[in-house]
């Protein structure tokens, strides 16, 4: 067990390094650098004066060879110093830390709503006796997944904010401003969970041991909650890492539509301005969330199903 965890942590460190390195070189290969963008931001029709661009480039350290910049930056990053935002001069870490609570609140709340909703839908789609009702409920998750969150967000705003004024359209103060973005973000995520779970529930419910339980006189409720769900939930659990990624990506759209502060908005702006320090902090944070969440999920498997062992070479579910 300990060896397994050490191995996973080392893998995690590799993932973080790879994410850092990739984002560094991708941002450098994009056309336009922070110095030209900052120099041109203050107006002008033509190219910003070369002297001004050079002065900014020296300030940001872009005049050094790329390899030197990379090693310098990586060495600093190892000591959790990602440098200052080229847009505001503020420490990139604290800029991200400032907006992070807003994103976490939104993402966690959406995940909870999505999990509860997805679970509920999955059970509802296998529970009723009437076939047409099961099919009707079974179609809902695909609908949820296929609605573009951008459009969904605007639709929710139109209905519940602009027309009947129940919730504010923008901002991030208090619970009322969280309701609409949470719903917008939870619907596609909940759709995924429901799709996966209802499929594995259906498969599990056709297993011989379920027939056996039914034959012994177990009620449908007991069959669902006592026998089937525990097994059916495992494939969905594997998806949690992907779902968290989806949620983080979803905040880019949701935070823009609902004018919320958060890392989704921050990253869009940072990429546009080629603000490498801010991009790197967000990338490392996102990679860290992936690494930790998939490790936690893997550690939970044996608790749900004792047949799964972590000492083997690979964990599959």
């Amino acid at each position: 067990m300990a060896r397994y965890i050490v191995k996973r942590v080392l893998q995690g460190v590799f993932v973080l390094w790879a994410a850092y390195t990739l984002s560094f070189f991708i941002l450098y290969s994009l056309p336009g650098n922070a110095a030209t963008i900052a120099a041109a931001a203050s107006g002008g029709l033509g190219a910003p004066p070369a002297a001004l661009v050079h002065k900014l480039a020296v300030e940001y350290g872009f005049d050094k060879p790329l390899s030197v910049q990379y090693v310098d930056d990586l060495w600093k990053a190892l000591r959790l110093n990602f440098g200052n935002s080229v847009q505001t001069g503020q420490s990139a870490t604290s800029a991200v830390a400032q907006v992070l609570p807003h994103t976490i609140a939104l993402a966690v709340l959406s995940l909870v709503v999505a999990v509860l909703g997805g679970l509920g839908l999955a059970i509802a789609s296998t529970f009723p006796r009437a076939r047409w009702l099961r099919q009707l409920i079974g179609a809902l998750p695909s609908l949820g997944v296929s609605i573009p969150s951008f459009w969904l967000g605007l639709l929710l705003l139109q209905a519940f904010s602009f027309d009947i004024h129940w919730f504010p359209a923008l901002g991030d103060d208090g619970i009322s401003s969280l309701v609409l973005p949470t719903v917008a973000l939870a619907i596609p995520t909940g759709g995924y969970i429901a799709q996966l779970l209802s499929r594995s529930l259906r498969i599990t419910l056709e297993q011989p041991y379920i027939d056996q339980a039914r034959a012994k006189g177990a009620s449908e409720t007991r069959v669902h909650f006592g026998h089937a769900l525990r097994n059916a939930v495992i494939p969905s659990l594997t998806m949690v890492g992907v779902l968290i990624g989806n949620l983080l990506a979803g905040t880019v759209v949701t935070e823009t539509v609902f004018s919320r502060t958060g890392i989704g908005r921050l990253i869009v702006q940072a990429v546009n301005a080629r603000d490498l320090p801010e991009v790197q902090v967000v990338v490392i944070f996102a990679a860290l969330v992936f690494v930790v969440s998939s490790l936690v999920v893997d550690l939970i498997y044996p608790l749900i199903d004792r047949r799964i062992s972590l000492t083997g070479t690979a964990v599959t579910a």
């Binding site: 931001a41 029709l45 505001t88 605007l154 923008l170 004018s259 546009n272």
Partner: protein, 535 residues
Amino acid sequence: MTHRISRVLAPVAALGALALVLTGCSSGSSSPASTSSTAVQKGGNVTVAISSDIGCIDPQQVGNNDDIAIARQTVASLTSQDPKTGAIKPWLATAWQINSNATSFTFDLRKGATFADGTPIDAAAVKANLAGIQALGAKASLGSSYLSGLKGVTVVDPQTVRIDFSAPSAQFLQATSTFSLGLVSTKSTTLSVADRCAGEYVGSGPFAVKSYTPNSSAVLSRVSSYDWAPPTESHTGAAYLSTVTYKVIPEAGTLTGALKSGQIDASPDVQTTDLPLFDGNGYTEINRANPGVTYNLIPNETNAVLKDQSVRVAIQKAIDRTDVAKLLTKYDKPATSVLSSSTPYFTSEASKLKADTKAARALLEADGWKVGSDGVREKDGQKLSFTVEYWQPSTEELELVQQEEKAIGVDLQLKFVTIAQWQSASASGSLDFLWGNLTRSDPDVLRTIFSTTGQNATHRAAPAAIDTLLADQASTTDTAQRQKLVTEAVEQLISSGEADPVYQLSTTIAASSTVHGLDFEGSSRLDLYNTWVSK
């Protein structure tokens, strides 16, 4: 889409404009409500939506329109520019003297004016501010460009400051009216770049920063001691509003919905297609042309074909500016000069900018450009085919220009790119044409863009007569002489086809009708000093 809408709405818009004229409210710089008989109500808050924020509201550093809308309210400047006449009026300086070759400027400062923290606005503070802007250097690119060639600042006495330049700088007087040279307290000039961006500075304007959350919101509160409004304002003393709240709303649909449902009160960023929603029915709109250089196609003369003046002029003559302007809001006008009509020293050159496809074709024929099998003209195996890379939301306007050029046998390929892509292409000098405008309420903007010592947008290889004209207008303080030089420079830019003005952009603020006295200052920036709300 815009095209169809504007065609349909044209009669409605015309009626609306007529109604405005009839009620005496056509003046661009005063809102309809400010002329109404309702008494001013003090106090209250106005919530203004802006669509972007780059995380910096320091007036001496900002350069983007949305952050300027916040920063402008927090600082007073040495002078104020009258939005109606373009004349420079007193503000923190009560009077000034300029030597004959525009190298030395002496300002007499108003007595009793203070920063929001109570420290006096004196000559030493002015000196500290200019030094601070120079220290910010590249971070204060607008301000430091206004100060280029600054030789020294002398504190003559607490109420008198002299600013000397090593070369003539006639633009400097107008520059003193801008937010970029707006004054912050002496202590604020020593703050770090980050702290200043974060709004930690103490200003001299009618409002002070109360709170600022980057990318989200800013709250300004009234400075009750403010009592140095320039004569360009309609009242004196403190501002009417207690607070101003700015909300950053990046999504256009959300912004429109928020204004329509009363969650915000005003915005300068309503999309062109949504503007008709705010024309009457509980809403008002105010509009002013952006001063400076109009939307222009500027040819790159390092391109062998564009070096040919006949080609450049033919391209210019193919454009029907009136038709292009029909695609824009009812306020935007066809360009009648390289400068927009709200720029000081503007003169209309409309007669030189009439579409004339016959003349355009004749020019190209005489120059040996024959129509090829694909309809594109060619000579010696060279085709009249160019690419226009652009990042501004002006696809429809450019597509119309493209059609008009096609009619004379010129092929324009349009390529929409990100601003970052455009900037790197622009920096490498590889663009066939520059497409854009530049806001500055002084004709010196021409020198910034077209002079070989400035941005040299046309990539002219060697200085020419136009460079002399542009340098000369910068070194004269004689109004009549400067007008003559500016007009001549504009005429040369047009006749040589080095500038190809298409339309002039304007700024429109849409607001709920409970908001009164919204104004534009001389550079068409939002001015909330006279603003009040009726409850």
